[in-house]
């Protein structure tokens, strides 16, 4: 029984990171109508930067329990990259989607080497600092409290996103711009500013996601380009442009992956694709299809 619980928790833990990356993807797609292939690269950047930030902080004498804040801070700081990257993408907003995909692919290539340049090719780890929050024993398994913290953070951010989008003026503008950009512009919305903010928010969601999940694992060069496929699966299952879809889709993919690894390791990704194909066959728009203008 506890094995099952352990399994599920592992899946939900992974789902938290997936949700954050997918949410970033959905936001950017919703407003800018660009499918950002570099979302996985932002995730990777967040992970690497997070490790460096925590190591620096610990060396500088910051007490260990505050490492979570340092991680989140690192993710947020990377938001500075948002405006310049968005400016670059802005040059091709009105072009054919193929060009948009290719430009974000160019970003993937560049960021991959940036990471390799700054942090090298060897796996990069944080060590055991996350254990400072202690561990919980459930039957025969021990689970770090940190994992619950991350899951909690994921839920909190999901809730915050919900409030942001439905109850704030910014959220209203974002949803309007996603629904009908021309109309929003005609009504006086400064699309340039909104685009920059939305893109930065999407980027930060990815970097924070990467920073949060890295303490228990190791950052490797390929983590960004590997994650993109799962992120796509989440987005297809949940429906392009839907936040709720990102949440539910992430849960499905995260848990499914965990189950698949336990039951039949060879089939982990296959299981996800079977679901993706199934969804596409019966509900092509995803589970939470949104009407686009």
């Amino acid at each position: 029984m506890t094995q099952v619980l352990n399994l599920l928790l592992g899946g939900v833990f992974h789902a938290a990171a997936l949700f954050l990356v997918a949410a970033g993807l959905q936001l950017v797609f919703g407003v800018q109508k660009i499918l950002n292939l570099a979302c996985g690269s932002f995730y990777a950047l967040g992970a690497y930067a997070g490790i460096t930030a925590v190591q620096t902080a610990l060396a500088a004498g910051v007490p260990a329990p505050l490492f979570l804040l340092v991680l989140i801070g690192a993710g947020l700081t990377l938001g500075l990259l948002g405006p310049p990257i968005e400016r670059l993408l802005r040059t091709i907003y009105d072009r054919d989607e193929a060009f948009q995909l290719l430009l974000t692919f160019a970003l993937v290539l560049m960021l991959e080497d940036v990471i390799r340049f700054v942090w090298g090719a060897a796996p990069y780890q944080l060590g055991g600092v996350y254990l400072v929050y202690g561990q919980v024993r459930l039957g025969t398994v021990t689970i770090p409290v940190y994992n619950f913290v991350v899951i909690g953070a994921g839920l909190a951010i999901a809730a915050a996103m919900g409030v942001l989008l439905t109850r704030t003026r910014f959220g209203g503008i974002v949803r309007a711009a996603a629904e009908n950009r021309g109309m929003a512009e005609a009504l006086g919305v400064d699309m340039a500013r909104i685009s920059t903010r939305v893109f930065t928010l999407g980027l930060v969601l990815g970097t924070v996601g990467g920073a949060l999940v890295i303490p228990a694992g190791a950052a490797v060069n390929e983590m960004g380009i590997e994650l993109i496929v799962e992120a796509f699966a989440v987005v297809v299952i949940g429906g392009l442009g839907s936040m709720r879809g990102a949440f539910v889709g992430a849960l499905i993919v995260g848990v499914l992956k965990a189950v698949a690894i336990a039951v039949y390791p060879e089939a982990e990704m296959l299981a996800i694709y079977v679901i993706v194909i199934g969804v596409l066959l019966f509900r092509p728009a995803g589970l939470f299809a949104r009407a686009t203008a």
């Binding site: 040059t91 290719l102 960021l111 392009l240 694709y273």
Partner: protein
Amino acid sequence: MIRHLVLAAALAAVAAVPLLGRDYYATLMLPFFAYSVALLGLNLLFGTTGLLSFGHALFLAVGGYAAAYLGSTLQVRSLEAMLAVAVVAAVVIAVPVGWLCVRYVKIYFGMLTLAFGMLFYSFLYKFYGLTGGDEGMPVARPSLLGRGFGDLDKTSYLIGPYYYYSLALCVVAAVVMWRIVHSPLGLSLRAIRENADKAEYVGVRVRRYRFYAFVIAAVFGAAGGVLLVVPTGLASPTLAYWTHSGNLVFMLLLGGFGHFFGPLLGAFVFIFLQDQVMSVTEYWRFVFGAVLAAVVIFLPRGLMGVLARQERA
């Protein structure tokens, strides 16, 4: 007529490379031939029909592993057999995958094809009993038109008979694709790209023809895949990785996907540029990312687009 002269000159130049004594550049031409064949197929799908696949590398991998399996496991050493099996395997896989994928367009098509490519990658990676896993599967040196060339060492084989075989295959592929592009199907596909809805209203079977384009592209991809793995002697799962598909699209954009010869130009520039850049820095991906960004923003019609403008001016 200038075009014909340029083409003839280029062909003569390419044929002369091994004879000029620069072995290194001759070996670089081998992946050029392979990618040219594969890209001719991708160009039909993207340039002519307007479907951007981020999973075309899947079929290169199919071709590569077909060659590997035939040579190493079944001990069949004929390149013709490898090509034949690769083509059949490509069709077998392209039919269900294509049937599913062409029901979607644009972003969804791109995502689906990416997913299928990665699905195949996972399969190649995980089922190491069958595929050799991340170590890959070795590719035995094939005989060409029945001749083994056993007396030649590897380099002599590659720069000699294999070079000209690849060149010939590349030319054959180009001729076949030229026929297809200038056929009724080619025109119908272009109509689909220009305005799929209107195409339906004038009686074009949009879904079916897109499917044909997908399968044809797959066949060319697999043939290219076979040519790609023979020089290195290894078929590895990374052949199917989505970034490999991304590079294929990059090559196509670089050369110019609206033109027939765009794929060849793109493959050529990509390979030689990569070679030059890699000798200068290990961070070639960054440079290439920047090149891609520049091409997307400033030269959307690719190098052929630039050349075509010169022609008219």
